[in-house]
């Protein structure tokens, strides 16, 4: 093995443990993938309505792999905006991955290009599944959960763009309640110390305020600020 980031962070992992991590990551991703698959169908339907053919919509999902960003970009077009406004809207919603990408960096391995490619599998779900309570990340769980989630998103988009669907009736089946619950289940293991709990509660309180004044997207930046302040206080 060539020595780079990963080996410094963690001791070599035996094959059995790695296989277990592959299975654990993929299994943890399944409930999220069901929700993301339904979300993907909705995105495919929206993109079809915005003039994207199935190949364009599915390529976008396969290469961008950020639901909120893609929805924002396509919504701009649906509302009559140009391609530049659509790309800017989508890009702004991606900025949170700057922080998450840096956070997961020590777990990745290989050269610069390979780590940049592996980083593309980072979305909130795979990032959280890969995270350990000590602030480290498991590369194998990132990749295995990321691939499962990616398949759900891409296949959902393809089905939505090709199929006869109007849109999945997310509301009728209560599927909109699934993602806050899933994020709570991912959050629970990270509340082990009083400091982490106060960081979570403070960030949640800020998110409530920012949602109330209709700028929920800025709450991600506030989470970063909270983390900086708590890091500084914990010195």
């Amino acid at each position: 093995m060539t020595g780079s980031g990963a080996e410094r962070g963690r001791p070599a992992v035996p094959a059995d443990a790695r296989r277990a991590a592959w299975v654990a990551g993929a299994r943890a991703a399944v409930p999220f993938t069901v929700a993301i698959f339904a979300f993907g169908i909705s995105f495919g339907v929206l993109a079809k309505g915005a003039g994207f053919d199935a190949l364009a919509a599915t390529s976008m999902s396969g290469l961008v792999f950020v639901g909120s960003s893609q929805f924002a970009a396509v919504s701009v077009i649906v509302n009559g905006g140009g391609w530049a406004a659509a790309a800017v809207a989508g890009t702004l919603l991606n900025l949170r991955y700057l922080v998450m990408g840096f956070a997961i960096l020590p777990a990745l391995r290989g050269g610069r290009a390979r780590r940049a490619v592996e980083s593309q599998l980072v979305i909130e779900e795979s990032w959280a599944i890969a995270s350990d309570a000590d602030g480290r990340f498991d590369r194998v769980r990132l990749l295995s959960s990321g691939v499962v989630l990616w398949l759900g998103w891409v296949l959902g988009t393809l089905l939505g763009a090709l199929g006869p669907f109007k849109a999945v009736d997310i509301l009728t089946y209560g599927l909109d309640a699934v993602s806050p619950v899933l994020f709570f289940l991912l959050l629970a293991p990270h509340l082990g110390t009083a400091r982490k709990r106060t960081a979570a509660v403070t960030a949640a309180g800020c998110a409530v305020l920012l949602t109330a004044v209709a700028v929920p997207d800025t709450a991600i930046a506030v989470a970063c600020v909270v983390a900086v302040v708590w890091t500084w206080r914990a010195r």
């Binding site: 915005a50 364009a56 976008m60 961008v64 960003s69 970009a73 077009i77 509302n79 009559g80 140009g82 391609w83 530049a84 790309a87 989508g90 991606n94 900025l95 991955y97 956070a103 960096l105 020590p106 780590r115 940049a116 490619v117 980083s119 593309q120 909130e124 995270s131 309570a133 480290r136 509301l171 009728t172 089946y173 209560g174 309640a177 699934v178 806050p180 619950v181 899933l182 994020f183 709570f184 289940l185 991912l186 959050l187 990270h190 509340l191 979570a200 960030a203 949640a204 998110a207 409530v208 949602t211 209709a214 929920p216 989470a223 970063c224 983390a227 900086v228 708590w230 890091t231 914990a234």
Partner: protein, 111 residues
């Protein structure tokens, strides 16, 4: 490219632009840092970033709404509360999810 109507943007231009910016943003860590080490305080920062970020996501997914401005209190709250009860009772994850969806759908159907 014709410039009339809402469908004037070439979808492939949007796809291309967003693919490039996403790759650069998601890959920025590796592209910027190369083989240098992150500073010593960074793991501790991530230790707090994770709960803070996930707590934000819980809130925005629970009371946010794509179509409306401000907070939306709807059947999701009941579904979330039901799921919390199931979680406290140590129900397995698929059951917790099922409770969330079923309670939300039920409350919505009644209301």
């Amino acid at each position: 490219m014709d410039l009339e109507g809402p469908l004037s943007s070439d979808p492939w231009i949007v796809v291309g632009a967003l693919v490039v910016t996403t790759f650069l943003i998601k890959g920025a860590g590796s592209l910027v840092m190369g083989d240098r080490e992150l500073p010593a305080w960074f793991p501790r920062f991530v230790e707090y970033l994770t709960p803070a970020l996930l707590a934000v996501l819980v809130v925005t997914q629970l009371v946010g709404s794509a179509g409306a401005h401000g907070m939306t209190f709807d059947a999701r709250i009941a579904g979330f509360a039901g799921a919390l009860v199931a979680w406290r009772l140590k129900a397995p994850v698929p059951l917790v999810i099922l409770v969330a969806a079923a309670v939300t759908a039920g409350v919505r159907a009644l209301g």
